[in-house]
């Protein structure tokens, strides 16, 4: 029998019945870990009318899918989700349980971890099975890489942001076992999600943008920040930020790049007034061109970029914007001449 020490679980996240990429990325990585441990990968999928979407979970590497379908589960309901997953976990004893660092995953994972009395590591940037068969959970901390383990309690739990692992390109199998879950009836519903309202935002998406301008606390104040916003517009780049900039209230937390925010892979990255903390830098994977502007020549960001400019960003950014505008004007005149000649 295979499952001597318990399967590797991925709690699948879906939005409007669409399975989120992070869940497939996690299953792909869970497959690698499960192979090393010689156990199964099992996915847990809760929602309504979702069964037809679950083939991709097999293709990504699941051996088995537990499906809980009910109109009660149409929207994420914390009490019910927690109850279902905790009870199933007590029965099946997974040794590892993974969640995406999504809106739902970030709330659900700690609720389950506290009931199961186990450890939970936030926003890991790598998960590795060591020689003892224990999952090493890597997070950036204090300018280095910290390894956390949960040596005794089970399951070992972690959340991982979208984009840390890639979607597996080989499809493992077309089919596996589907197990239907009985949905319990809760007498009282302590929390109820009444409605989800989405804004139509026209902003460039950070995850897909070719160029990203990111600003940090070095912007100094809202005027300094607005100059960075202007630069991103002039360049046609998406705008991102570090946690201190979001904490200052200059911009939305949703545009935060890094371990607990967005993972991006642009062609060009320009970091302005930010120190280059690892928590931020792990969010930028292999950009072709990386540039930093910072007034502190000792800032760690200068070890992580191709070109550096030592200057006060409040002074430098307006000059850069003007020079880009005049360059554009100049080159468009040249282009016109080329056309007319």
């Amino acid at each position: 029998m295979k499952n001597s020490t318990g399967p590797v679980w991925v709690i699948v996240d879906q939005e409007d019945c669409q399975i989120l990429p992070v869940s497939l990325q996690l299953i792909g990585h869970a497959r690698k870990m499960a192979n090393k441990l010689d156990v199964d990968v099992e996915a847990v999928l809760l929602g309504n009318n979702i069964k037809n979407n679950c083939n991709c979970l097999f293709e990504a590497g699941s051996d088995r899918i537990y499906i809980g379908e009910s109109h009660e589960l149409n929207l994420y309901q914390p009490d019910l989700y927690t109850d279902i997953i905790v009870n199933l976990s007590k029965e099946k004893c997974p040794q590892i349980m993974l969640f995406g660092s999504t809106i739902v995953g970030r709330e659900l994972a700690p609720l389950i971890a506290a009931i199961l009395q186990t450890g939970l590591t936030a926003h890991c940037i790598d998960l590795v099975i060591n020689d003892k068969g224990i999952m090493e959970q890597k997070i950036p901390a204090y300018g280095g890489l910290m390894t956390i383990v949960c040596p005794e309690k089970r399951p070992q739990m972690a959340t991982v942001a979208q984009g840390v692992f890639s979607i597996p390109d080989i499809s493992h199998k077309q089919k596996g076992e589907i197990v239907r879950l009985k949905i319990p009836i809760l007498n009282t519903r302590r929390v109820e999600i009444l409605q989800i309202v989405r804004d139509q935002s026209n902003d460039l998406q950070l995850e897909t943008a070719a160029a990203v301008v990111a600003g940090g606390a070095g912007a100094g104040d809202i005027d300094g920040w607005n100059q960075i916003v202007d630069l991103s517009k002039v360049l046609g780049a998406a705008l991102g930020c570090t946690r201190p900039a979001a904490d200052e209230g200059w911009t939305d937390l949703e545009t935060m790049i890094g371990q607990s925010g967005k993972m991006i892979s642009p062609e060009v990255y320009i970091g302005i007034g930010l120190s280059g903390e690892l928590q931020h830098m792990v969010g930028i994977s292999e950009a072709q061109l990386m540039i930093a502007i910072n007034n502190d020549p000792k800032a760690p960001i200068f070890h992580q970029v191709d070109y550096g400019i030592i200057d006060d960003c409040k002074e430098f950014v307006p000059v850069l914007i003007e020079r880009i505008k005049s360059f554009r004007k100049h080159s468009s005149i040249l282009d016109c001449r080329k056309c007319s000649s």
Binding site: L111, L120, T147, R243, E254, S260, V268, Q304, Y307, R328
Partner: protein, 265 residues
């Protein structure tokens, strides 16, 4: 009266926290003198409590867990407007992970009195896990709502809230007693007032250790933590930085050249 408990954390000043580094040789933390301040989002949590107090009347208690130096953060909370302050402090609490931190805080909250609402900041600036609020709620057996950006109303033992999601919000109703975690969007925290500082001087902060909250040393701090840190490794830098020099205009033009070279302008 409506009872509110606000959880606050003393964190290394986020403006200076980047000075804490690993020594690449000894692999231990080099802690420069980084002062402790109130976690920024906990100010929003306290402000939310004070707004409820002003609207419907409430008694606001602050609770924190940390070294004895954190007492100044609890005092600051009282100076801002809380009625009562508790600091859970005991050498046995040191080295706690999220689970053991939440467990200890929940024991402290149980000792305070019955409550209607517990408010936490969404995350701390130093650890940023977002887990402590939900785990405290689990230990207290109350429901939790995370990332609250608006308190719509409190009515008939229910709280109606708006919470942050990607590109939008959720409308959520929660039964009291409950725990909520709040975001920066919720409010603008008030500043310290002189009269508040005077008032806080007269208040006694309760200092509670293991015995006061009736827990065994085995269940708290490092002993009570399911997860442990095994290593902290410095990271190897992958790129060599070429500095662009000159006057501002020259630097801007050279930077534009680089962008053009890479086909981006």
């Amino acid at each position: 009266m409506f009872q509110i408990i606000v959880c606050i954390k003393a964190v290394p000043d986020p403006q200076k926290a980047c000075k804490i580094k690993i020594d690449p040789i000894t692999k231990t933390l080099l802690r420069c003198e980084v002062p402790l301040v109130m976690n920024p989002l906990d100010r929003n949590a306290l402000e939310a409590a004070l707004n409820i107090k002003e609207e419907i009347g409430a008694h606001v208690t602050i609770i924190s867990m940390g070294p004895i130096e954190a007492v100044k953060i609890v005092k600051e909370g009282i100076a801002i407007g809380a009625d009562h302050g508790v600091l859970l402090t005991d050498p046995a609490f040191a080295g706690a992970d999220v689970y053991s931190t939440a467990f200890t805080l929940s024991k402290g909250i149980e000792k305070i009195n019955d409550f209607d609402l517990v408010i936490c900041g969404m995350a701390s600036s130093d650890a940023a896990t977002e887990w402590v609020g939900p785990e405290i709620a689990t230990f207290l057996s109350v429901p939790v709502v995370t990332k609250v950006k608006e308190i719509v109303h409190i009515k008939d033992k229910f709280l109606e809230l708006k919470t942050c999601i990607m590109n939008g919000y959720r409308r959520v109703r929660v039964m009291l007693p409950a725990l909520i975690t709040v975001t920066r969007e919720l409010n603008k925290p008030r500043a310290l007032s002189f009269s508040g500082i005077i008032k806080s001087r007269k208040k006694k902060i309760m200092l509670w250790g293991c015995n006061d909250i009736n827990v065994s040393e085995k269940l708290v701090g490092l002993n009570g933590s399911p997860s442990i840190v095994t290593t902290l490794e410095p990271v190897v830098n992958k790129r060599n930085c070429e500095f662009i020099t000159g006057c501002r205009e020259e630097k801007a033009d050279k930077l534009i050249d680089k962008l053009v070279e890479h086909g981006f302008l």
